[in-house]
């Protein structure tokens, strides 16, 4: 079962990486880099079940939570900059 989640995260990472490279617009790039992040987070959370113990390891969850916070704040700055750029253009 855990292999399925690894596979899913691999697909997310590869597809979003492809779109990150080919996308020309800033918004598309922002979305693709966010999806890439989700793929990485999914992978990290899935590794929590990778132990012989009955319960999943809580540490990856805590780390992913931190990662999500960082990704959200980076996205906020990116959106602010894109909006500023559009206002300048008009």
């Amino acid at each position: 079962m855990i292999g399925f989640y690894y596979f899913l995260s691999l697909i997310l990472v590869v597809v979003s990486l492809y779109y990150f490279i080919v996308a020309r617009s800033y918004v598309k790039r922002l979305i693709s880099v966010n999806i890439l992040g989700s793929g990485v987070f999914l992978f990290f959370v899935a590794t929590a079940k990778n132990t012989t113990m009955e319960n999943p390891d809580p540490v990856p969850h805590a780390l992913v939570l931190t990662g999500i916070v960082v990704a959200v704040s980076a996205t906020a700055i990116a959106v602010a900059l894109i909006l500023y750029l559009n206002k300048e253009e008009r």
Partner: protein
Amino acid sequence: MPIDLGYLVALPLLASLLSLIPSLRVYTAFIFSLLSFLLSLYSFIYTLMGDIPLYQWIGGWVAPLGIGFRLDGLSGFFLLMTGIIGFFVALYSFSFFKVEYQRQGKVFWFFFFFLWAGLNAFFLSEDLFNLYVVLEVLSLSALVLVALPGHRKAIKASLNYLFLSILASMFYLLGVAMLYANYGVLSMSLLSEKLAGTHAFTYALFPIIVALAIKSALLPFHFWLPPAHSSTVAPASALLSSLVVKPPAYLMLRLWLEVLPKDKSLEYLSIVLSLMGALAILVGSYYAIRQKTIKMLLAYSTVAQMGYLFLMAPLYYHGESFREALLQAFALQVFSHALAKASMFLSSGNAIYVARRDDLSYMPGFAHSHPLTFFALFFSGATLIGLPLSAGFVAKFLFLGLSIRLGFIFQGSIMLFGSLLASLYVYPIWRESFSSHPTKFYDNPIPQLMELSAFFLGFLSFSSGIVTFLLLQGIVRG
């Protein structure tokens, strides 16, 4: 007396918050930059005499669960570097934002101190996940500094930098996840024990190395750097080009020398990194020579100078018997380039202040009208080239000796050729400064503080070559 390492991070963070209060801004900036500088100077002196490595566990939680700070010779040296540059850039910025970009001056200090806190935390952290968070702190504050002037070019450069740095962070996190899944620890000292004799880490290492290469602008990923570092205001450029690109390279050295075991795949990796570094030196210098504006020239020169740190990757793999000399050479290369590049960007700010243009051809007669700024450019340029006595010379000399002793003639000769190329792109700045037709607006005086801080940084980058015996002693301790 041991110090509380937390203050090295807490003090600049407090300063960044206080600088948001308009009436306190100038006092905060002055007092806290001085205090942070003195604190990093003290921690450097502590690494010379005290009991190191000094560990500090935040909240009293010890390693696998807790996050630790660790002060040793190398990190103490880099703290000193951050302190010196931070202090002089702060002095410069007092005058700079008084005469130019007043609006930007209101927010500059917040991100300046935030960046300083991030840098100190990076050099002290010894936990891979904590390093990820700090890396993000660095990039987020750096990209706001890139966007500071607010014109389209700067915003675009900042956005491109932001996307690449998020991408790099995600790669880094992927590598960290793989390491954690296999070994169950993130602290570097614990990891080094667990890695011995295993091979699984090589897969995790690949995304981490790619991430560090993007963040420190190694060749195929260098394209974000020149626009980002050249389009912003002078003090911000100085910080970005001298300090922000260094931490990833520092982490790579740390991993290589202290964490990773000897493995055949690492040898191939080191050769690939070395070739990329060699290309970075050649291509970066080539583009630097072709530039017509001083800031683009300096930005491409950063690409070239960062190349040296990666060019020497095979030495990190093979040179465990020369560990001390390696650490010294690496640290001194980083230190000399950081000080010299900061001084050059500050001087370029002075030149732009009088000429209102950043074309190289607009600098004629600079040596006659503004000798202090010219001497800053002279000393820092000499360090970039690696002229004898300068710190850059000592670093290159150490690297050269090591590469000959370990039999890496290719690396040594590329480094010498890189010095030659560096003199080709530094020379036009000097030549234009000496031409004998000072134009009329060059009579404008530059605020004294701006000239003096640029000069002292350049002078320190040169003269620290003379006192290297003192500096080098500390690096290898602990």
